[in-house]
Symmetry: C2
Subunit: 369 residues, 2 copies
């Protein structure tokens, strides 16, 4: 509990994190951040409040009536927009599946010290706002713009560096991605913890790109060097590597765990016979799902897909499983139309990003437990 100057002035050392044993810091982060409840995968749109939350610093307390979005440095026609201005612009609503880049981190061995997600950091909401690209074009980025920096109101320390949360997109990325400047979620004004009053949604990318509490956009002549772009959210084989940027979501699927749970272990009890298994599958960059397979052992069988909830939102799937008495590990595996599929074993990453290993659900099938 005693504060330690080193936390603020030096990168904390990364302890070796043992499988199955977690630190105080990890539990504090898990208590603070929120996973989705897997049974809410039954809903096309994740119920408000059950969508995952990953908040690096503190939720800012912003008065929407005083909030402006500044198109600042590096534009020939800089300007700013109030929330009223933004709400009067062309309005679109789109369902988007967001997933935390660190989802699956705790399934890696060894794992890095950060939020110890299992499989639950995913959700789908209907986001309402206005397309960002025309607003950036209206500000007339100076010739030679190499990057657009998105700066947020939340501020804190990471690895000894004080900074506001910020991310960037290149002009090419911004022109290709359907980035939304969003002020509503599921038909209601954005909640404080989801970025109120204003955020971006970068569909098809992991959640770190969808900057919450957005305050300004700058056009840069060189690539953005913000902490959250350069120091983290990189795939690395070793913590000291430069690595490659985390961007599009990797193909994944989840099932609603069937039967009845045990409170502590979350293991499932299922009575023998026909059992409907349902779930969701999604991939990055708007790439559709081609198939989902289900297994209660070594054999994989194809599930039935339903229509995707949206171009950038998950696809439902179902499988009629005949539950035979015994102990089983249920798995599901999605493949997208580009042929990307989920690995059966984790791809290791030094920071625990992008782990799309298949989900495993332990089930006891019996007439009586």
């Amino acid at each position: 509990m005693s504060p330690a100057r080193s936390v603020f002035s030096n990168p904390p050392k990364k302890p070796a994190l043992e499988d199955g044993i977690y630190t105080e810091e990890e539990v504090r982060l898990a208590n603070r951040n929120s996973g989705s409840l897997l049974e809410t995968l039954n809903h096309d749109i994740t119920p408000t409040g059950a969508h995952y939350l990953l908040i690096h610093f503190d939720v800012p307390n912003i008065d929407p009536s005083l909030h402006n979005l500044e198109f600042g440095d590096g534009f020939d026609s800089p300007y700013s927009l109030s929330m009223e201005d933004i709400r009067s612009l062309p309005r679109i609503t789109m369902p988007v599946t967001l997933e935390c880049a660190g989802n699956g981190r705790s399934r890696l061995s060894p794992r890095s010290l950060s939020m110890p997600w299992g499989v639950e950091a995913v959700g789908t909401s209907e986001w309402t706002g206005t397309p960002l690209l025309p607003l950036v074009e209206r500000a007339a980025p100076k010739p030679g713009t190499a990057d657009f920096a998105f700066t947020a109101a939340d501020r804190g320390f990471d690895k000894g560096m004080e900074h506001n949360f910020g991310r960037s997109l290149t002009p090419k990325e911004l022109s290709e991605l359907q980035v939304l400047l969003a002020y509503e979620m599921n038909g209601q004004p954005l909640l404080p913890q989801h970025g109120a009053p204003l955020r971006i949604i970068v569909p098809g990318w992991y959640g770190m790109a969808s900057v919450k509490w957005l305050t300004r956009i700058d056009a840069l002549q060189t690539r953005y060097q913000g902490f959250q772009q350069i120091q983290t959210y990189r795939y690395r084989n070793h913590p000291d590597e430069t690595g490659t940027p985390v961007s599009e979501i990797r193909v994944k699927s989840l099932m609603v765990p069937p039967g009845l749970p045990d409170w502590i272990s979350r293991l499932r009890f299922v009575r023998p016979g026909k059992t409907a298994i349902t779930g969701r599958a999604w991939s990055g960059g708007g790439v559709p799902i081609r198939k989902v397979e289900f297994s209660d052992g070594d054999h994989w069988r194809e599930a039935v897909l339903s229509r995707p909830v949206g171009h950038y939102a998950w696809t439902g799937w179902s499988f009629d499983w005949f539950a035979e008495p015994g102990e089983h590990v249920l798995r599901c595996r999605a493949t997208d139309v580009k042929g990307n599929t989920q690995p059966l074993h984790s791809r290791w990453d030094a920071s625990g990003f992008g782990n799309n290993m298949v989900q495993e659900v332990g089930v006891l099938v019996a007439e009586d437990p």
Copy 2:
């Protein structure tokens, strides 16, 4: 991941849980259940979705148009109510502060194996519904009724016992507590994870009493023996004791951690000088808060209280702290008008219930970190 029959058929053994080291089960529960974000204590009403969530089994998926509340066994005039019936009854809205009985569990040594809450399992919502007492009276409980059992739709295993979540209140408790049959939260229909379409709110008691997904009420001639009433939610010095029931919330206060956080450790950095500290305080049974004290060391100084948000809802407080350079542990301590106050050290409980030990926030005050 392999399911184990013993989980469903026998009480799991409680391992000795070491301070500062957490198990896989605890992290899984922490990922699934949600703590409040302490900075949202700035809001009189916790933003929807930032209210804590403790869900024993799975969130049921209930069609409100088919849902009925049965006044079943033990009544002379049993009847049932559809959601439409319930919405047409006299309607009241009240802000209520709910806290999980296990809040503070991870601050005990040793701690029991369950959801490893720090301090964050508390929130205040505006609940809308109809008073329950007249509806129970209308069903005419048979003479000699000793208990009213509230049965919910969620079902699962705990310590090897399969059961629906259920709780009870005695006729005396029901007549004294302002129990609300609630179908809205913060002006919106109940969210699935908060008990949709129908729950009770038992103001002034820890959250386990406020049964979600309510399906039936029975009047019993003997005391209710449901798992969640008898086997758990008891204060015990030893796991094998009968113990005494957990009921009213114990007096407590929390502060919004000041300054800027470190992402991983959540330690705070504050620049020297006047720093406004704000927070909330609450007690059980509608007992008002008499004072809140603040300390950055050994000395306690009284904070300024604001009007309570409601008879059963928390009271705001503020303190102008002059932050001197150095490392500090900030604490706050509430006392209610009955003289109940928060202990400086945890009262140990075998199941980790009712820990109202003062919050501790580690802060580094410096011009530069």
